[in-house]
């Protein structure tokens, strides 16, 4: 829900950006574009720079499916901090976006009047939305990482050498274990 609202808001801003660029420079090309992959998963192709998860591209980064996230290198503290920061950014902007969505539903003229926004305002809003998208990307990657850890946690894995030894040449019970087994 939050992601949908934010994406709608981003789309709206990009359209406004396009209107402003067209009106101020007399061209119709856009500096940003939206992609939808074969799987139907929404992918936002925008110029986002984020060093939180090791993204290095500043152009053309698929934000919600980052290339080779180096999450394995993150410590638990870093992951928690990144998630906390991302959550704060997302929550703040989600509240704002939901509020403005409600306004746009009540006032039909608002969307039209926003087209007249100055380029700098649109750019500022777009910059904010880029931060939100980056935060969403961080949150989604961290959540995926957590899910992976849980999956991994459910499986007990044993070193092959140790397993071989335990199966074929099992150790004698320790003295403490032998005493324990005798307890009633």
């Amino acid at each position: 829900m939050v992601e949908k609202v934010l994406c709608d808001r981003l789309v709206q801003s990009l359209w406004q950006m396009g209107e402003v660029v067209r009106s101020e420079h007399g061209c119709v090309s856009r500096s940003t574009s939206l992609n939808r992959g074969k799987s139907g998963r929404r992918g936002l192709r925008i110029g986002v720079k984020s060093d939180v998860l090791g993204f290095t591209d500043t152009e053309g980064c698929i934000v919600n499916k980052p290339v080779q996230p180096k999450s394995a290198q993150l410590t638990a503290d870093k992951v928690s901090a990144a998630l906390s920061d991302a959550d704060a950014v997302v929550e703040r902007h989600a509240s704002k976006s939901l509020a403005s969505s409600a306004l746009s539903r009540t006032s039909g003229l608002r969307t039209r009047s926003m087209r007249a926004m100055h380029l700098s305002n649109v750019e500022r809003e777009l910059a904010e939305l880029k931060k939100v998208v980056a935060a969403l990307a961080v949150r989604s990657v961290v959540h995926e990482e957590m899910a992976f850890d849980l999956d991994h946690y459910g499986v007990t894995v044993l070193d092959a050498g140790t397993a071989h030894q335990l199966l074929d040449t099992p150790p004698e019970p320790t003295e403490a274990l032998q005493k324990l087994l005798a307890l009633r």
Binding site: H152, Y153, T156, L158, H164, L166, P171, P173, L180
Partner: protein, 169 residues
């Protein structure tokens, strides 16, 4: 074999049970153990005195996967995950802590594994240590080894257990 525990009994008051150290273990026996029993997810065994629950443990089946088999090991060992019995929870009420009841429950658990191993294949006994102190006890005293992916998930060969019980006979 004789056991000191009885099968899970929902008519026993479980809300008063308090192990003091890990609240999750109190919540489990009070709220979730019955559901797990009903769904056949795990079996809980209770230690009861005068109608009062003083301790319990829960066990379930599990499997142990082996990583990176070399060519020799591939010939000698099964390539699929091996069966195990998991001691998922063990807790003692605060009124009976420090008098050896935990060890008696562990012994009871091992006897159950030994019994199961006569009817169905059990290659390993797996325990989840609640904290580092418990993990150290299992490893240093009872001979468990740590799994590769989780230092608190500990493994003992069932063959070692069988040797121990045969020595008692």
């Amino acid at each position: 074999m004789d056991f000191i525990t009885v099968d899970f009994n929902k008519s026993i008051d479980r809300s008063a049970f308090d192990c003091e150290i890990h609240p999750a273990l109190n919540t489990y026996i009070a709220q979730h153990a019955g559901q797990d029993e009903k769904r056949n997810v795990s079996r809980t065994f209770m230690y009861i005195e005068k109608g009062i629950l003083l301790g319990y443990y829960a066990l379930a089946n599990a499997s142990v996967a082996v990583d990176e088999l070399n060519e020799d090991q591939k010939r000698r060992m099964p390539g699929y995950p091996m069966p195990a019995v998991l001691l998922s929870r063990l807790a003692i009420d605060k009124s009976r802590q420090g008098v050896g009841l935990g060890q008696r429950l562990m012994s009871d658990f091992f006897r159950r594994v030994y019994t199961v191993s006569k009817q169905s294949g059990v290659a390993f006994v797996v325990v989840d240590a609640k904290d580092q102190r418990a993990a150290s006890y299992y490893q240093a005293k009872l001979g468990f080894v740590a799994s590769t992916n989780n230092p608190r998930r500990l493994i003992l060969s069932t063959a070692t257990l069988i040797k121990g019980f045969r020595a008692l006979a």
